[in-house]
């Protein structure tokens, strides 16, 4: 009865609307002892086909924001539209697939049973075998959920997220707690899905994942968006460079102008500085150093600096 087309004619899919449109959204929780301002005025537009990483420390409001996008909770103020619809109607029309951070699975069913159960709730789901295949869960489809590893359970959640043939995929720290190999495999499986214009928004703590997967990075901190741009732009917000050079390990390091931190290891000295040119000039002209290298500060540094709202990192 869930497959009758007359009863559940899919609503038209207006592809002109952005995948996510968040306007001046505020979310405040009241607990018995305090009031928590989880999201303090966020506006965000994510066009179709974009792959966006949502970064930020714990408690930044990432999960709360994603919960509002998924219709799990309503904003205290402001509006959220998903594919041009209110979030809850977008999810019930099968436009959204999600891998949630706290998404319990029934422990006592097999992977295939779990996928079949959820598939049966959608009017026109992806075939179960295909969802299992695409998510990489096919090889352990006969295993009971409680016997699956954390990484395998994420694959199952991923399979469930693919079932409605979504236009938007929301992933909240999908690789948290996975080992490196599982993480790589997970993102490879996801990358295969993004080829056909799927919009993806994922929250993560791993900057490397943002760098490898996303063409846009949104940084949240303390309930606000503090950065929104490409990975390259995020990196360039760091004014720090590292100047390193070969130096005999038994000789003291010379005093250098503008050096904020000096470390030495394996016969090399590394100098962190905001003025790489001055340090490099002093090293090359005034010392016996050789094999000089200058590198821009990493994503981690840019990230840390943005979170501290300063550039002394």
């Amino acid at each position: 009865m869930n497959r009758t087309n007359t009863a559940t004619t899919p609503a038209p899919r207006p592809s002109a609307n952005p995948a996510i449109e968040v306007r001046d959204v505020v979310k405040t929780f009241h607990t018995r002892s305090e009031t928590v301002h989880a999201v303090k005025g966020v506006s965000l537009e994510i066009p179709r086909g974009a792959v966006v990483a949502l970064l930020g420390p714990n408690g930044a409001g990432k999960t709360t924001l994603l919960d509002m996008v998924l219709g799990m909770t309503d904003p205290t103020a402001g509006t959220v539209a998903v594919c041009g619809e209110p979030p809850r109607s977008a999810t019930s029309h099968g436009r959204v697939g999600a891998v949630q951070q706290v998404g319990g699975l029934l422990p006592d069913v097999t992977v295939r049973e779990a996928v079949t159960m959820i598939a049966s709730l959608y009017p026109d789901p992806l075939p179960v075998a295909e969802a299992l295949e695409r998510s990489g869960a096919a090889e352990f489809a006969g295993r009971k959920i409680f016997k699956c590893s954390g990484g395998q359970q994420q694959r199952v959640r991923f399979a469930l997220a693919l079932l409605p043939r979504p236009e938007l995929l929301v992933l909240d720290e999908p690789t948290a707690g996975m080992d490196v190999a599982s993480r790589t495999a997970f993102w490879e499986a996801l990358r295969a899905q993004t080829a056909d214009g799927l919009t993806v928004v994922f929250a993560t703590h791993y900057l490397q994942e943002a760098e490898q997967m996303a063409d846009r990075v949104v940084l949240m901190d303390a309930g606000r968006i503090t950065f929104d741009g490409s990975v390259h732009e995020l990196r360039s917000t760091s004014r720090h460079h590292t100047v390193s050079f070969a130096w005999p390990s038994d000789e003291p390091v010379p005093a250098l102008p503008g050096a904020s931190k000096v470390t030495r290891a394996h016969g090399r000295v590394s100098v962190r500085t905001q003025d790489a040119d001055a340090v490099a000039r002093a090293v090359l002209t005034g010392t016996a150093a050789s094999e000089l290298e200058v590198s821009r500060g990493g994503l981690d540094e840019a990230f840390a600096a943005l979170l501290r709202h300063d550039d002394t990192a």
């Binding site: 009865m1 869930n2 219709g71 019930s92 697939g97 999600a98 319990g104 699975l105 709730l121």
Partner: protein, 252 residues
């Protein structure tokens, strides 16, 4: 409601061996011990014999164990992660409720079938076929009152352990509901106000026609007293579940 989802949910619960032990095997064993194998089993009652009386009691007990467990775990399941998974699908609260009621009622049929089959092949006897059918149907249908009980427990305490404890309490409620051994005197007077008493009394009505056997002689319960007990407790459990559900959703 999705038939596929419901079927898998029924299957999943049937496979839960420890639950099915308490739902179907234990009542059948208790029936054999207290009904089949006792000297008084062939003593006659207005609509059947004592063995049939014990059979219906145990079937009803199994049925309420089933509905309590299903409804309780349904609440916990929905409040925990699986509810968030379902929230992303077109299945709404009404769909979930319909599915779980169907699952609970289907599983309540299991102990009735098992215990009645044992009764049929041993010494349970009722005067007419309709008495068999009616008492079986009543045991299943009335066990829905305990779905509300399980639901309230699940919504209030939000853990599988609490649902297990609520199921465990059924033994005590069953004792006070005059399910396991005939109560007498003051205890019986109190028992008439406890939640299992009405349900099991109604399910046994085709056998007893209201007679209550006690240590000090025969008493009679009117069908209205049993109905009043059942309806009153349904309202109490229903109200508790409703209040708990409001509180659970208000926290979001």
């Amino acid at each position: 409601m999705s038939l596929t989802y419901t079927a898998y949910d029924v299957l999943r619960n049937l496979r839960a061996v420890s639950n099915m032990f308490f739902v179907a095997v234990l009542p059948a064993v208790l029936f054999v011990l207290f009904g089949v194998a006792q000297g008084w089993s062939s003593a006659s009652l207005p609509g059947g014999n004592v063995s049939a009386y014990v059979m219906v009691s145990m079937a009803a007990y199994g049925a309420i164990t089933a509905t309590t467990g299903i409804a309780g775990s349904a609440a916990v399941e929905r409040l925990q992660g699986w509810g968030r998974q379902l929230a992303l699908t077109p299945m709404g609260t009404a769909g979930y409720a319909t599915t779980k009621v169907t699952v609970a009622m289907t599983l309540a049929v299991v102990p009735v079938l098992v215990v009645f089959t044992v009764g049929l092949f041993t010494n349970a006897a009722m005067d007419d076929l309709w008495r068999w059918v009616l008492s079986g149907v009543l045991a299943v249908v009335l066990s829905s009152v305990f779905a509300l009980y399980g639901l309230a427990a699940g919504l209030i305490f939000r853990s599988d352990a609490a649902v297990g404890a609520a199921s465990g309490c059924l033994v005590v409620l069953g004792f006070f509901g005059n399910v396991f051994m005939p109560l007498s005197g003051g205890l019986l007077e109190v028992a008439r106000f406890t939640p299992v008493y009405g349900i099991v009394g109604l399910a046994r009505y085709p056998v007893t026609e209201g007679t209550v056997t006690t240590m000090d002689g025969i008493q009679t319960d009117s069908v209205w007293l049993l109905l009043a007990n059942t309806v009153a407790w349904a309202l109490v459990f229903g109200a508790a579940a409703l209040l708990a559900a409001r509180k659970a959703t208000a926290r979001r």
